[in-house]
Point group: C2
Chain length 117, copies 2
């Protein structure tokens, strides 16, 4: 593989809530995503959910609190924990890590397609 | 857990080549590290090795080429691949991901201790 420049990858597409896989690590997809507005409440029963904000400010709403991440801040949502990522104050660019094949919505029926770039 | 501000964590210690675990994801340690100069050649027979440069410029020497990473650039060294990280042009700050318990040198006898911050 080659190195991955995250900003270049993020500049290569415009869609929101459509993660792109840029590398793989031990059966996990390393993804970049651009988001704006509200996602929906969901959980991943079998995997933690890794968020690292690269640009913008993201609220990760949990049932009992809100975790707000700016650039260079990360949070891992434990498996089985309901959460809703929300970008209320402009677009947010992030790095995500999930086991390959994990539906981003927690439900294969509604999951975004898997796209590698 | 709380969110993790990577710059704050990196500012909390000064040692080189001494990774600090700042979060966990599915049995993997999410670590920050400050490095300068040469590490040694090694490989991890059972795991890929994830590098994301946050500050500075890192050379990951492979036996057949050199991958140079700047801020916002990542590279995954495939398992079993000999490599040597080198920071020749000043200090480098990085995010690393490895399965918990992985010796950073590839050898438990010479590995850095596991430190959580």
């Amino acid at each position: 593989m080659d190195k991955v420049n995250l900003a270049e990858k993020l500049d290569s597409f415009a869609e929101h809530w459509s993660p792109r896989t840029v590398a793989q690590y031990n059966g996990n997809d390393i993804m970049v995503v651009r988001v704006q507005g509200e996602f929906h409440w969901h959980n991943h029963p079998d995997t933690d959910d890794f968020f690292l904000v690269l640009d913008g400010e993201l609220d990760i709403e949990l049932r009992d609190r809100v975790v707000t991440l700016g650039p260079g801040e990360l949070f891992v949502v434990p498996s089985g924990t309901e959460h809703r990522p929300v970008a209320r104050r402009g677009e947010v660019k992030m790095l995500l890590i999930e086991p390959s094949g994990t539906p981003n919505t927690g439900d294969p029926a509604t999951a975004a397609p898997h796209i590698c770039i």
